[in-house]
């Protein structure tokens, strides 16, 4: 009868911690509605893969040999071997994005670049804390505020912290409404937050919308070739949307396709949340560093907006710079809300949305740039 107790006696305290983490993620997803599409599957998956001798992972059975487990197989095929899942998700994301607010006010795209600074600042801090460069770069990319990019970069760089990085990236994206106001208030005065920006949208031609994804792909591809898969699939999705002749494909990419990949990505990434790899001191450090990355991103965006204001007649509300991160639309909403707290007649939403979609482009370019530069430094 010992076999009935085999699982129970093999349970380690680290696995019990993982059950707690899984339950916390499920709680946050259901009760707090924090990124539920990702945190719920990840939370449940964290429990699945930490049951002793879990059949969700590859196991070795006496007399039979190795038997494939579905989650580990999905991880190997969909993430480890080809990075297919995070990449394919970009088709859906691209199909969801309306670049109109950005095309009608091109200046906003510059904020997307500035707000990637948190990635690199965090890499330096992670290195000082003793992480090797491949892991430091993978941790820094949490600052891209873009879950699929974080998973992709950490996986390509063969970081051993993929699970922790994914949890941090998605958790902090969901916590943008708490993190960003704190960071923005550190570097702005109420008077600055009250700066009004008139909104005079220019009409955007259909040809501009059609050429935009092609131009972005070409420029990103020539300067940072490693970003082609990321930027290319994002822009492919957007071209489907803007083409006007692929209505059903666009609809599918935005809904069924994106939902399916999200569902699989969440549960699959949990294969990297096995207790022996997850419950360690470094995971705590990664959570702190991920938070710092978001704070640095926001501060860099604000300071860049202030810098531009030195040379500009039409002042930009510095908070719009903080919306240059990829977390859409949470970041734009934060800026709108804070603007109205400073001045109830201040409407910054459309400017912030423009900066926010710029952040989505810049974050995938940043991912590609990291993938292009870091391997050369590891030699």
């Amino acid at each position: 009868m010992d076999f009935l107790l085999l699982g129970l006696t093999a349970t380690t305290w680290q696995q019990l911690v993982m059950y707690g983490i899984g339950a916390t993620l499920i709680y946050l997803a259901i009760s707090k509605k924090l990124e539920p599409a990702l945190l719920l599957p990840m939370g449940f998956g964290a429990i699945l893969v930490n049951i002793p001798f879990s059949g969700a992972l590859h196991t070795t059975m006496s007399g039979i040999g190795e038997v494939a487990g579905i989650l580990e197989w999905l991880f190997e095929v969909g993430i480890e071997a080809s990075e297919a899942m995070p990449l394919l998700l970009f088709i859906g994301i691209g199909a969801m994005i309306d670049f109109g607010p950005l095309l009608s006010n091109p200046k906003l795209i510059l904020f997307g670049a500035a707000a990637q600074f948190g990635i690199f600042a965090t890499v330096s801090i992670a290195v000082l804390l003793g992480f090797p460069l491949r892991d430091a770069a993978s941790i820094g990319i949490i600052g891209a505020a873009d879950g699929p990019t974080s998973i992709l970069v950490s996986q390509v760089l063969r970081s051993e912290y993929v699970g922790a990085i994914a949890v941090a990236a998605y958790s902090y994206m969901a916590l943008v409404p708490i993190i960003q106001p704190f960071a923005i208030k550190l570097v702005t005065t109420k008077k600055e937050r009250a700066i009004r920006m008139p909104y005079n949208p220019k009409s955007v031609s259909r040809m501009a919308r059609l050429f935009f994804p092609i131009v972005v792909t070409l420029f990103a591809g020539y300067v940072a070739p490693a970003s082609v898969s990321l930027v290319g699939l994002l822009m492919f999705g957007n071209l489907i949307r803007e083409s006007g002749v692929l209505g059903s494909l666009s609809e599918t990419a935005q809904n069924a396709f994106a939902n399916l990949i999200t569902l699989l990505l969440g549960i699959t990434i949990s294969a990297s949340m096995q207790a022996e790899r997850f419950v360690r001191y470094e995971t705590m450090l990664i959570m702190v560093l991920g938070l710092l990355a978001f704070v640095f991103d926001s501060i860099a965006g604000v300071l860049f907006a202030k810098f531009l204001n030195l040379f500009s007649k039409n002042k930009v509300n510095p908070m719009v710079g903080a919306a240059g991160i990829s977390a859409f639309p949470m970041s734009a909403r934060v800026v709108q809300r804070m603007g109205q707290q400073a001045d109830s007649q201040n409407h910054l939403l459309m400017h912030a949305v423009g900066a926010n979609v710029a952040g989505q482009i810049a974050s995938v370019i940043a991912g590609g740039v990291i993938l292009g530069l870091v391997p050369g430094m590891l030699v």
Binding site: L102, L103, P106, K107, I109, L110, G112, A113, Q116, F117, I119, F120, A121, V123, S124, V127, L128, G130, P132, L133, A136, A137, K202, S203, S205, R206, M207, A208, F211, F212, V215, V216, F219, A220, V223, A224, A358, I361, A362, I365, A366, V369, I370, G372, L373, V374, M377
Partner: protein
């Protein structure tokens, strides 16, 4: 450690430069778009 930190600083300036170059090129093209595609064509 110091060598690694220097590498991370190199990554910082090269990375930010690459991102700004791409974004600035896109910005220039966006400025040209209204001239290229007049009257919504």
């Amino acid at each position: 450690m110091i060598e690694l930190f220097k590498q991370s600083l190199t990554l910082m300036w090269q990375g930010m430069l690459a991102i700004f170059v791409v974004i600035f090129l896109i910005y220039l093209v966006l400025l040209l778009f209204p001239k290229i595609f007049k009257n919504g064509k």
